[in-house]
């Protein structure tokens, strides 16, 4: 099932299938690229940032950015 990263639930995992073009370069520097496996760790309340782990490395990104990343959720 495809979901935006901003809509993923706690502890859900999946594979990144799409990133909006204007964001690709910036998040690639954090290890978030199409084809990478990712686990959502937590989200801060009131439109706070989303915390994810990609290949063992933790990154926190703003909710708007997370809304531009599409993930094929596996579990």
């Amino acid at each position: 099932m495809k979901k935006k990263l901003s809509e993923m639930d706690y502890a859900e995992q999946g594979t990144v299938t799409g990133i909006e073009k204007d964001l690709q370069k910036r998040v690639a520097g954090m290890g978030i690229r199409v084809g990478k496996k990712l686990r959502m760790v937590t989200r801060q309340p009131i439109k706070g940032p989303v915390d994810v782990v990609v290949e063992g490395a933790e990154t926190s990104l703003g909710l708007d950015m997370a809304g531009k990343i599409v993930v094929e959720v596996t579990k």
Partner: protein, 187 residues
């Protein structure tokens, strides 16, 4: 001679700098501790070498002022060698910056730092093979414990500019020989 320490934020560049020069630059466990460059000196085989601790940058396409300082520093130092410090547990993104620097023609050596953190995460890197593919020295280090620093210094003289085409060819070749070897094993 001038050597630039470059890499992503929070990979331990300042730790290298302090180890190499005996200086006391602030080190912390968060990205962006160094926002301005710091210069220091060390002696390598009798020669005075200037070492520059460059602020962390994700790419050569700066996104904030600290990164602008880093990229400007690189471009001002056309004759410098670069030590690309890579967090071994995040090797791919580190290689991205290293490739950008290689493509600009700088002689470079790679320090695969935080080997201990990578091991914690069950990430194993074949440094020799990486060295063969890239055609430049690749040294595993744990800078905070002083491991690998001597080897890194002794191999600085091997730093040289490499052609990107050679890297592409090497990457393709190793996979060929690999699959050939696998095939041989199977037969």
């Amino acid at each position: 001679m001038k050597i630039l320490l470059m890499g992503h934020p929070n990979v331990g560049k300042s730790v290298f700098f302090n180890r190499l020069t005996g200086a006391n630059v602030t080190e912390s466990n968060y990205p962006g501790t160094t926002v301005d460059y710091t210069k220091g000196w060390m002696k390598i085989e009798g020669e005075d070498v200037e070492i520059v601790d460059v602020p962390g940058t994700f790419s050569l396409d700066p996104k904030d002022k600290a990164e602008e300082v880093a990229v400007a520093m690189l471009h001002e130092s056309r004759d410098a060698k670069v030590i690309a410090v890579i967090d071994a547990s995040k090797i791919e993104r580190g290689l991205y910056l290293a490739m950008e620097i290689i493509e600009e023609g700088y002689p470079i050596v790679i320090a695969l730092n935080m080997r201990d953190v990578a091991e914690d995460k069950n990430i194993v890197i074949d440094a020799d093979r990486l060295e063969r593919i890239l055609g430049i020295p690749v040294v595993s280090t744990v800078a905070i414990a002083g491991e690998g620093i001597k080897e890194l210094v002794s191999r600085l003289k091997e730093a040289k500019p490499v052609n990107v085409d050679d890297i592409i060819a090497n990457a393709a070749n190793t996979s060929d020989t690999e699959s050939a070897a696998d095939a041989g094993g199977a037969a």
